[in-house]
């Protein structure tokens, strides 16, 4: 049982590492800011998600597990919010309108 859990952890954390690598390679290879932001979601969401999933098999239930999941959700939330603001800031002029300039709907 212990061995199965350890193998699960090794596979999942390695797979997570692969997604972190994919995110980094994407960050370097993609042509502009917006496509690079997509590469970051790859690392944040799947990379960190798989690392957390792998570590769940090694941590204490339920507190350690909940804490790991909470950290993943916090990273997802901050990543999604920041990516939207960065995306809105670099959006080219033909998709920009005078009255609206960001993810906020109140027009500021």
């Amino acid at each position: 049982m212990r061995l199965a859990l350890d193998i699960f952890t090794i596979v999942m954390v390695s797979l997570g590492g692969l997604f972190f690598l994919a995110g980094t390679v994407g960050l370097l290879r993609f042509p502009d800011t917006l496509t690079r932001l997509h590469a970051l979601t790859e690392a944040d969401n799947l990379g960190l998600g798989l690392v957390v999933l792998g570590l769940l098999a090694q941590t204490s239930w339920p507190l350690g597990a909940l804490k790991l999941i909470a950290l993943w959700l916090l990273a997802l939330l901050s990543g999604a919010v920041v990516a939207q603001f960065l995306g809105a800031a670099v959006r080219p002029a033909d998709w920009r309108t005078d009255d609206v300039s960001g993810p906020r709907e109140d027009g500021r």
Binding site: L18, F19, A22, V25, G26, R29, F30, P31, D32, L34, T35, L37, H38, A39, T41, E42, N45, L46, G49, L63, L66, K67, A70, L71, L76, L77, G79, A80, V81, A83, Q84, G87, A88, R91, W95, T97, D99, V100, S101, G102, P103, E105, D106
Partner: protein
């Protein structure tokens, strides 16, 4: 102030306190005075967080449909895995096979918190990123591959979110407008 405002203020404060306890994980073997001081910080932090959340996201009557919420979470998770794996060969391939472009998606959700949640949920999935609203109030998405059926996927996500929030999904009246600028 309605009753439900006080009720949700207390619920949010308790929720934030639980979250603080989870993250801070106070050492129960420490002297009682240390635990009490730690707890005081947590109580105050939770109160500030609850106050901020009430300012930014005023409570509204009605409750979430948890069944639909679960289905929405499962769908976002599934989408993330599917598009995450489909991105791998594109990123590592010798020819970077992406076709980035914009897509304007006319949302049915009202402006405000619901739409912000929709934007965040869909931006978490690799390949789609919400980058603001246009003059007609449609959400603008930047997609890594505009040849994928992004708008159709977004429509399913949106229907699930509308169900989660307890509203009936309406018939779709507008067809999403597509504008790709394919780049090698």
């Amino acid at each position: 102030m309605g009753r439900y405002v006080i009720r949700s203020a207390v619920l949010r404060w308790a929720g934030f306190l639980l979250f603080w306890l989870l993250l801070a994980a106070p050492d129960l073997g420490a002297p009682v005075i240390d635990i009490l001081v730690d707890l005081l910080v947590g109580l105050m932090a939770a109160a500030v967080a609850a106050w901020t959340s009430l300012r930014l996201l005023p409570p509204t009557p009605g409750s979430l449909r948890y069944g639909a919420l679960l289905r929405l979470a499962a769908r976002v998770l599934r989408n993330s895995v599917v598009s995450g794996f489909s991105l791998l060969p594109r990123v590592f391939g010798p020819r970077l096979s992406i076709a980035p472009g914009y897509l304007s998606y006319p949302v049915r959700l009202a402006p405000g918190p619901a739409r912000a949640v929709f934007g965040a949920l869909t931006s978490v999935v690799p390949g789609t990123l919400s980058v603001g609203t246009d003059r007609d109030g449609a959400l603008i998405y930047h997609c890594l591959d505009v040849s994928q059926p992004v708008a159709e996927d977004l429509a399913i996500d949106e229907t699930l979110l509308i169900e989660t929030l307890g509203n009936k999904p309406e018939a779709r009246d507008a067809v999403p407008r597509r504008k790709g600028e394919a780049r090698a």
